[in-house]
């Protein structure tokens, strides 16, 4: 191409790139040379990087990507920091094992640690049945209130969590309400009457002929566990029938059904699945949900 083909800017005497945008032309000033060198350095850097760091994806027959001589792995680094976290937690965790649950609750630091650990363990293991924050569901006790079947003290909660309810182990919380209907201990009429009576205990019903008849049935069959006044017994996991709290429901049909064929529901022995630290943390957390022993 001959010299006069070039488009030279009159003001600066510099060639332009020959491109024009709305009358604006770009000067073709030379780049500083070091700029070029930096570009070369980046190319060298890329090669160095391939050598040291994982870079190339797996080629057929290779199985994995090129590891690089530094053998760098983000996955290993994550595992390492998780280990570091574990050992950092181990210190507080060891303190949890040594201290009693009462001491844990009373100590500001241990309490906060146990609450945090307990909250996450609760979410993983307990919330499926008891609901987030221990809100409860029909058949699954609410843990945020002051009604406790097996006792709401710290030690009692710890025991219940560790050994479970109606499990095979010897320490497990255990009781069985007889199936008054299915096993034909009571007639259908007796069941209906005693159900009416039970509902009068917490003011759900006014006393009636049926409930008065039911009271006699109650005194013969139920007081051994639920107590003369129907206030329950935490040693046997017998619910208080005089309060507003109903595990399965308070309507007539549910109460009748429970007496006819009780559900006797169970809870796993978490001591068999979780370590002692976690169980203690759970006990503190569950206790703190309600903050009252009932």
């Amino acid at each position: 191409m001959s010299e006069h083909d070039k488009d030279v800017d009159a003001a600066t005497g510099v060639e332009t790139t020959g491109h024009e945008w709305d009358g604006i032309r770009e000067l073709n000033n030379p780049l500083p040379r070091w700029w070029l060198y930096i570009f070369y350095i980046t190319i060298v850097w890329a090669v160095v990087y391939w050598i040291f760091m994982p870079a190339w994806p797996a080629l057929p027959g290779m199985g994995t990507n090129t590891p690089g001589i530094r053998n760098h792995s983000d996955r290993a680094l994550v595992a390492e920091s998780i280990d570091a976290l574990r050992s950092a937690r181990a210190e507080n965790g060891a303190a949890l094992i040594e201290a009693s649950v009462e001491d844990i609750l009373a100590d500001q630091d241990l309490r906060q640690f146990a609450m945090a650990a307990g909250e996450s363990a609760f979410g993983d293991n307990c919330a499926t049945c008891h609901g987030a924050g221990g809100r409860g569901a029909p058949g699954y006790p609410t843990l945020a209130d002051d009604v406790w079947l097996w006792g709401g003290g710290l030690d009692e909660i710890q025991h219940t969590i560790t050994y479970g309810v109606r499990q095979e182990n010897m320490e497990s919380r255990f009781s069985m309400m007889p199936a008054f209907g299915r096993d034909q201990v009571l007639s259908a009429e007796e069941i209906t009457n005693v159900a009416h009576y039970v509902r009068t205990l917490s003011g759900l019903e006014e006393p009636s002929d049926a409930s008065i008849a039911g009271q006699e049935v109650f005194e013969w069959n139920c007081v051994a566990c639920h107590g003369e006044a129907g206030t329950g017994d935490q040693f046997q996991g017998a619910p208080d029938l005089t309060d507003r709290d109903w595990l399965y429901g308070s309507d007539m049909a549910t109460v009748q059904a429970t007496i006819y064929n009780p559900r006797n529901s169970a809870m796993p022995a978490w001591g068999e699945r979780l370590d002692e630290t976690t169980v203690k943390a759970l006990a503190v957390y569950v206790y703190a949900l309600s903050g009252s022993e009932g």
């Binding site: 809100r135 409860g136 507003r244 009252s292």
Partner: protein, 477 residues
């Protein structure tokens, strides 16, 4: 876009340009002296600042200026937490406004005297001059073959440059760690890896930016010259060649008259003195960092030829034009609208930040109500809500905090794990302490969504932080 003939790179115009070495000649004069003095001051501040101590009590760092120590910034008595990082933003905004203000008052003095690039380049040139001599000797040495004399001078120069570079990087990391202990650990090999990495990076950047790239940093890399263009107007004080007086230029013999010609004797002293390698007589240029060394150079010549100094001087474009048109020059107007606007903005932001700093709290109360369950009814019929409480203590010393809950009669408030009803707690310094709060209220005192006010009171100082918290209950019909 219309495509003209594309121009392929020709032999005449290379694709890449080699750096043309600049060998500024040492000048003497008031600006040169001031620049050396300012360089000494700037370096002293940079190296010395991290060593100044500031007593903050036993458990806190005692370094006056410390950045990012546990995420916090310390400036003497002021301590800035990560969540208050907007103060740092404020300082940056103030810095740039300050730069604008100074620029509109005195021209581009930042570039000329204070910019680290300028200070360190000046220092590096001084080292170069020490080993290789002044301009002419350096040019000669560069052209000379590699004799022993050349080799030792070059090696010594680069060695000293590297030392300065390492010391520069070394000083920077002291701003981020306790200086005395870091200094000890650094040389015994126990400092954190980041310290070594940053010293390495800064050694490299200092050496290459001040040693080998120099004026190219200002010309190609730095955004400030571009911004500068927007800040300059015909009222701006710039290092200016007064062409009204200098032209027509030309060599001058002692015997000749000064009538009918300009004062510039075309001696090139201003060009050889220029660290940017430009000719100020071509007018205001992006490359010019306004270091005023050409003023010193020219004043020297003017004295020698017996003409008044100030052929090159701090002046405004407007005045040059006025004088060229035969009119008297104006006095420099200090109070121009832009100066006033910058000053007002700076004062306003400073006042705002100072107000924020002096009234900021030393602790914080955060309350989060349980969502699940939103409430429970207790066996005695009362309604219970649970809350997660966070008390943030921003001071080093522990605090005694009393919580008070008001708004509904008969509310029974307790903190789990504390004595029932005891709402006085001690919280450790520098951190977040969490509590679980339980509130029980008789059913007939609440209706659906009620509101309580919770106040945390520092029992010593009386400082308070209050929150409104909801209390959920079944709606009564």
């Amino acid at each position: 876009m219309t495509a003209l003939k594309p121009t392929p790179p020709s032999d005449a115009q290379p694709m890449y340009k080699k750096r043309e070495p600049v060998h500024p000649k040492l000048v003497s004069g008031k600006f040169r002296s001031f620049k050396f003095a300012f360089m000494a001051l700037a370096l002293a501040v940079y190296y010395g600042l991290p060593w100044i101590r500031w007593d903050r009590g036993p458990d806190a760092p005692d370094q006056a200026i410390l950045f990012f120590a546990d995420g916090k910034f310390y400036f003497g008595p002021i301590e800035i937490w990560p969540q208050e990082v907007y103060y740092i933003t404020g300082i940056l905004i103030l810095s740039s406004l300050g730069l604008f203000l100074v620029t509109s008052l005195f021209g581009r003095v930042w570039c000329g005297y204070a910019c680290p690039q300028t200070v360190w380049t000046d220092l590096y040139i001084a080292v170069e001059r020490f080993f290789e001599g002044d301009r002419n000797k350096r040019i000669k040495l560069d052209r000379a073959p590699w004799t022993f004399n050349k080799i030792w001078r070059k090696v010594a120069k680069h060695a000293v440059w590297l030392l300065i570079a390492a010391a520069t990087g070394g000083a920077l990391v002291f701003y981020f760690h306790d200086a005395p202990s870091l200094a000890y650990n650094f040389f015994t090999g126990h400092a954190p890896t980041t310290a070594y990495v940053f010293v390495g990076i800064l050694t490299f950047t200092t050496y290459s930016l001040a040693g080998t790239m120099r004026e190219q940093v200002c010309t190609y890399l730095c955004p400030w010259p571009r911004i500068q263009a927007a800040l300059t107007d015909e009222d701006a004080l710039n290092v200016t060649y007064r062409w009204d007086r200098g032209e027509p230029r030309g060599p001058h013999k002692k015997s000749e008259t000064w009538e009918g010609r300009g004062d510039c004797v075309d001696c090139n002293a201003c060009v050889t003195a220029c660290p940017m390698g430009i000719d100020i007589r071509n007018g205001a240029q992006l490359e010019c960092i306004h270091c005023a060394l050409c003023i010193d150079a020219c004043d020297d010549i003017m004295k020698k030829v017996g003409r008044p100094t100030g052929l090159i001087a701090y002046d405004t474009d407007k005045n040059v034009e006025l004088r060229a048109a035969g009119k008297p020059a104006q006095k420099f107007r200090l109070f121009r609208p832009r100066v006033i606007i910058y000053a007002v903005l700076i004062s306003a932001i400073t006042a705002l930040m100072a107000y924020g700093l002096f009234t900021r709290s030393t602790f914080e109360l955060n309350v989060l109500k349980d969502r699940s369950p939103s409430f429970v009814q207790l066996s005695d019929g009362r309604i219970q809500n649970g809350y997660a409480i966070k008390l943030v203590n921003k001071r080093i010393d522990p605090k005694n905090i009393r919580l008070e809950v008001t708004g509904i009669e008969g509310a029974d408030v307790s903190l789990v794990g504390e004595e029932h009803g005891d709402l006085d707690v001690e919280i450790p310094g520098e951190g977040v302490t969490r509590f679980r709060m339980i509130i029980k209220i008789p059913e007939n005192a609440v209706d659906g969504n009620d509101r309580l006010r919770i106040v945390a009171i520092d029992t010593e100082t009386g400082e308070q932080d209050a929150n409104f918290i909801p209390f959920s209950s079944p709606r009564r019909n």
